[in-house]
């Protein structure tokens, strides 16, 4: 670990595509810091600017403005040195179909300058750690989706990076694989590795992250610990109302409503039910969770996030 106070610090980070009125401001002067050994969550719906931000932080896109310091090095000046110390897991598993699991790991280590004598042993260790030992000589293209994801993450860790960027690591994974990968992220934190995690899944962020930044429309609208974000809703009221199914045979519909005043919420919920001609089966007051905070701060429905990706496992 280096002497810099933060593993990552972005000041006024901006990305604009095109110019003039037709230009798109994808990332709008964002500021944040990530501490050493922290799991930092970056949340937001599609088009929020998460991927653009991660592309700038990893050198794949050039910022239009602002500055970034990673592990004490300036991104604009020291990109090659920074690249040696970071690992990146992109949203899509992008190893080489024609190479085996073992060869993909070794190739990555070659790129990152891992000494030749250490490569084979380290590759075997990673295969064991990610439960891929039996797939050692299987080509990447023939692995299951979960295994490909696991191997992509293993490859990003093969050169022992101090900071790992995980872009939507559990998207599209089955239950077991997603849980396994979450355990892996927790293990990285225990080893002192800093993790920068982008995700659509509020539950995942709540479970894994020390702090979370909510990004909407290219801006960070909130940045705090999970408890800190929840505390922002402490004064708010939340209810959960269960309505009978529209066709009287299907599954009842459960809605959550969050607002400043409990009586108004209940009145609104009952009014909506009457308007729709549906019977109320249950109505409970609940404690606001991260999802409610997200809804309050972004003005978006949390379903927007859920519906953008499919196959998420709890």
């Amino acid at each position: 670990m280096d002497d810099a106070p933060f593993a990552l610090r972005a000041v006024g980070l901006t990305k604009r595509y095109g110019s003039g009125e037709t230009g798109l401001l994808a990332v709008d002067h964002i500021d944040f810091e990530v501490g050493h050994g922290e799991v930092f969550g970056f949340l937001g719906p599609n088009g929020a600017g998460k991927t653009t931000t991660i592309r700038m932080l990893t050198g794949l896109a050039r910022p239009t403005g602002g500055s970034v310091s990673i592990l004490g090095l300036d991104l604009a000046r020291d990109l090659p040195r920074i690249k040696k110390q970071i690992g990146v897991v992109p949203e899509n598993s992008n190893l080489y179909d024609e190479l085996t699991a073992f060869d993909n790991l070794v190739f990555s280590m070659q790129l990152y300058g891992v000494p030749r004598r250490a490569r084979a042993g380290r590759a075997e260790d990673l295969l064991a750690r990610f439960r891929l030992r039996e797939k050692r000589d299987v080509r990447f293209g023939r692995l299951s989706r979960g295994m490909r994801r696991a191997l992509t993450i293993a490859t990003a860790l093969a050169h022992h990076p101090s900071l790992v960027f995980l872009d939507e690591p559990t998207t599209g994974l089955d239950v077991v694989s997603a849980r396994s990968l979450r355990q892996m992220v927790a293990a990285l934190r225990d080893q002192g590795v800093t993790v920068f995690l982008t995700t659509h899944y509020l539950e995942e962020a709540e479970r894994l992250c020390d702090r979370i930044a909510l990004m909407v429309g290219g801006r960070i609208v909130a940045l705090d610990t999970v408890d800190g974000l929840k505390a922002r809703s402490q004064g708010a009221a939340a209810i959960e109302i269960t309505l009978e199914s529209k066709d009287r045979r299907g599954v009842p519909e459960v809605r959550r409503l969050v607002g400043a005043d409990l009586e108004s919420l209940i009145a609104q919920a009952m009014s909506d039910a009457r308007t729709e001609g549906r019977r109320v089966l249950a109505l409970d007051t609940i404690r606001p969770n991260l999802e409610d905070v997200f809804v309050q701060l972004t003005g978006l429905n949390a379903d927007v996030m859920r519906s953008e990706k499919s196959g998420q496992a709890k």
């Binding site: 794949l60 050039r62 040696k84 080489y96 179909d97 024609e98 790129l111």
Partner: protein, 243 residues
């Protein structure tokens, strides 16, 4: 920094050879293609081997270097694997050197096999070995750099093939492989002078027929210049795409 670049370029080369180039279908295609040319020429109009072999070798090099190479980068971009290389601790130059070397090695393998077949079929006279090796290497580098430029300029695999053919086929007919450049009309002779294949055929002809060195040395210089120009444009194009 330089050692990182060299290590990464070498790693990219070896990976590309294993993952793409040295697959049996590619090797057999790479050898069958010039062999088919050889048969087509000798069967239809039995030609003087002194004229045929330089053109045949240059075509083997041109198609050997560019056929797979133009696809590899585009394919890797499509599946996201190129991004993995862009994230690695190397400069764009090193990445593209690795890619270029892959095309060169494959093209040279195909050409050496073609040379062997031609030697058996026709026999070779007094060959300037040094000049032959230099011409093969510089021709391969110029063609491979053209392949890299084509592949970074497009987004889809089929576009790469189309664009590569837009360069290759005019060169095939105007570059002196079939018809001597001197026999072309004036306008086409000027066009031929803009094509690296022309210089490759000329230098190979000197090397295989023990011709005058001064002309061949100029050809080599032009091939080196083509390599540099194509490569610089390739690096710039890729840099623009990652801006």
């Amino acid at each position: 920094m330089l050692s990182d670049d060299l290590r990464c370029a070498y790693a990219v080369l070896i990976k590309d050879l294993r993952a793409y180039y040295l697959k049996p279908p590619n090797i057999s295609w790479g050898i069958l293609f010039p062999l088919a040319f050889l048969l087509a020429f000798t069967l239809r109009t039995p030609t003087n081997p002194d004229q045929l072999v330089p053109g045949l070798l240059a075509l083997a090099l041109l198609f050997g270097t560019t056929s797979m190479e133009a696809i590899v980068i585009t394919f890797e971009r499509r599946i996201g694997a190129l991004e993995r290389l862009l994230l690695a601790p190397m400069r764009l130059t090193a990445l593209l050197v690795g890619k270029l070397l892959g095309g060169m090695v494959f093209g040279l393998i195909v050409t050496v096999v073609t040379l062997g077949i031609a030697a058996v079929a026709f026999g070779l006279g007094a060959v300037r070995v040094g000049l032959l090796v230099a011409t093969l290497v510089l021709s391969a580098s110029a063609f491979a750099a053209l392949g890299v430029l084509v592949s970074v300029a497009v987004k889809e695999v089929f576009e790469a093939q189309t664009l590569a053919n837009a360069f290759r086929f005019p060169m095939m007919f105007l570059g002196g492989a079939f018809v001597p450049v001197a026999a072309l009309p004036t306008g086409l002779r000027i066009v031929a002078r803009l094509m690296p294949l022309t210089y490759s055929v000329e230098a190979l002809s000197v090397a295989l027929n023990n011709g005058p060195l001064d002309r061949a040395l100029l050809d080599l210089a032009v091939l080196a210049a083509f390599t540099i120009v194509f490569f610089v444009f390739s690096v710039r194009a890729l840099a623009r795409q990652t801006a």
